[in-house]
Symmetry: C2
Subunit: 254 residues, 2 copies
C-alpha cells in the first residue's frame, strides 16, 4: 500500500550546508513546501520554484492542516521546521492532527537542533548529561517551567534554554536566572548564541549572575553549565571526567 | 594568523545522507581522519584513500592525542564522532587536551544526535522539554546517574537515555527503570531504538514496567515519556499542549 507522504523536515540552524543530505533530497523531491515564513526565506533560490505555503507565527495548527490537506490531495509534501523537527517542532502536532487524515503517512526527518549547533559555537557545554528547557509559556504554565529549572539544577544537569525571550516576554531569562541563582553558584559558567548559522551570529560566555543582566533576543539559545563546566580560553566546556594524563607539567596550574 | 585546524565532526547516526553537507565537505577536504574503528567503518569507500587513524574503544585520550599530534604536524585533521561531536563526543576532551598543543585550533561541526534520530523513528517523544542521560558509569558515579533520573522524573521531563547497557553492565537499564518506577506510573509510555540509521534498525514502544524487562544492546537509545506522552497508532508522541480543533467528531473518542 502506498500512502500519501508528508515529511516533517528538520532544516538545522539555517544554512543549507547544515542540513543533512536526506533533508535536502526530500526538499528537492517534494511538490509542496510548507513552513513558517522566516524558515521558507532561509531556503535557497532553487526551492522558490516549488509551491510554498506559509502561515504567520503562532498559527501552527493552520500550517499543519495546510500540509496535511496537500498530502491528502496526493502531493508530496515537506513541512520544514528550524533545527530538529521533533524538538519543539511540528512533528507531534502533525501526529495528533493526522487522526483526521488517515491516508497520510508521516515521516520525521531529523536535523541539527540548536542545542547542538549552539554548543558547537561556544565549545562543548553539553558534553555530558543535559536538559533542554523552553522558557515560552504560551503552551506551558510558568510554574512548570520553574519546576523544571529547579530540578535540572538539582540534578547537576547542564542546560540548553530555548526561547529565552520574545517581545511579549522580555524578562523570562531574568526570571529563570533568579530561580537558578537559588540553586546554583552565581559564578556558574554560562553562555549564549544568537542567530546560530545565520548572518550576524553572536556568542558570549559569562557567569550565571551576569547572564541575569543580559539582553537576549528570541533568536538566542542559552547554555547553563553544571559543576563540571569551565571556561577554557573563552570556550564553555563541560568535562566528562577523564583523568587526563599530560605530556608536560603545563596542566599543573590548570 | 592561520592555525593548524582540527575539526571534531559529528557524523550523525551512521548513514552518509544523515551527515550535514558541512561535515561531509570537511571529511572530503581533510588529510587525516581519526576515529573509533566502528565509526571509521561506517564511512563510505571514497574516504579509504585518506590516512585513517584509530584506537579501540575506551582509549579516547590516546585517540585525541593522535588527532592533536597530526594537526600539530600541519595536517588537516577530522576527528569523527557518532551522532553529535559535542554530546558524549570527543569535543570537550579535545578542548581540555588542547592545552598542550597551542598551535592547534579546534572547531566543532555539529551533527544529528541519537536523541533526534531515535525520536524520529519512534514518532515525536522529545517534542517538549527533555533530558539526555547516559547510564554509563565508567566516568560518572552511579549515585549521580540515579539522582539525575529522579530529578528528570520529578521535573516531568521526557528523557532520552544513552548507553543503556553494555556487556559489563547488562542490568543498568533495569536499575534505571527501578528508580523511575519509584517516581512515575508504571504505564508511562516508553520506547527504544536499536542501530538507528544502520542495518538492522529495530524499534519498540512499551510501558515503563515492560521496559524494565527488555533486553537492549549498547547500540540502543531509550526514550521515557512524560505526563503528556501517548502512544498514538504505534508512535510515541509527547504533546506540546495545543488545544486542537478538529474538522470532524472523530477526535471525541480519542
Amino acid at each position: 500500500m502506498t500512502q500519501n507522504k508528508l515529511f516533517v523536515v528538520g532544516m538545522g540552524p539555517g544554512r543549507e550546508d547544515q542540513m543533512t543530505g536526506e533533508a535536502l533530497r526530500i526538499l528537492e523531491q517534494c511538490d509542496v513546501i510548507v513552513g513558517y515564513t522566516v524558515y521558507l526565506k532561509l531556503l535557497s533560490e532553487r526551492f522558490r520554484e516549488k509551491k510554498q505555503l506559509s502561515t504567520p507565527m503562532r498559527q501552527e495548527q493552520e500550517r499543519c492542516r495546510m500540509a496535511l490537506e496537500e498530502a491528502q490531495k496526493g502531493q508530496n509534501v515537506a513541512m520544514i521546521c528550524s533545527g530538529d523537527a521533533g524538538i519543539y517542532g511540528m512533528a507531534s502536532l502533525l501526529y495528533e492532527m493526522r487522526k483526521d487524515y488517515p491516508d497520510v503517512a508521516l515521516e520525521v526527518i531529523p536535523g541539527v537542533t540548536a542545542a547542538s549547533s549552539g554548543a558547537a559555537v561556544l565549545g562543548a557545554p553539553l558534553n555530558h548529561d543535559f536538559c533542554v528547557i523552553s522558557l515560552s509559556d504560551l503552551l506551558t504554565p510558568w510554574p512548570l517551567i520553574e519546576r523544571r529549572l529547579r530540578m535540572a539544577a538539582r540534578g547537576d544537569f547542564a542546560m540548553a534554554i530555548y526561547n529565552p525571550a520574545s517581545r511579549k516576554r522580555p524578562d523570562h531569562l531574568r526570571h529563570a536566572c533568579d530561580i537558578l541563582l537559588q540553586e546554583l553558584e552565581e559564578s556558574c559558567p554560562c553562555g549564549y548564541v544568537e542567530k546560530i548559522g545565520r548572518e550576524g551570529t553572536r556568542s558570549k560566555t559569562c557567569t550565571l549572575r551576569e547572564l541575569r543582566e543580559e539582553k537576549v533576543s528570541m533568536f538566542t539559545t542559552v547554555f547553563i553549565g553544571n559543576s563540571q563546566t569551565e571556561i577554557l580560553n573563552g570556550k564553555l566546556i563541560t568535562k566528562r571526567g577523564y583523568p587526563i594524563e599530560t605530556t608536560t607539567d603545563f596542566r599543573r596550574d590548570y
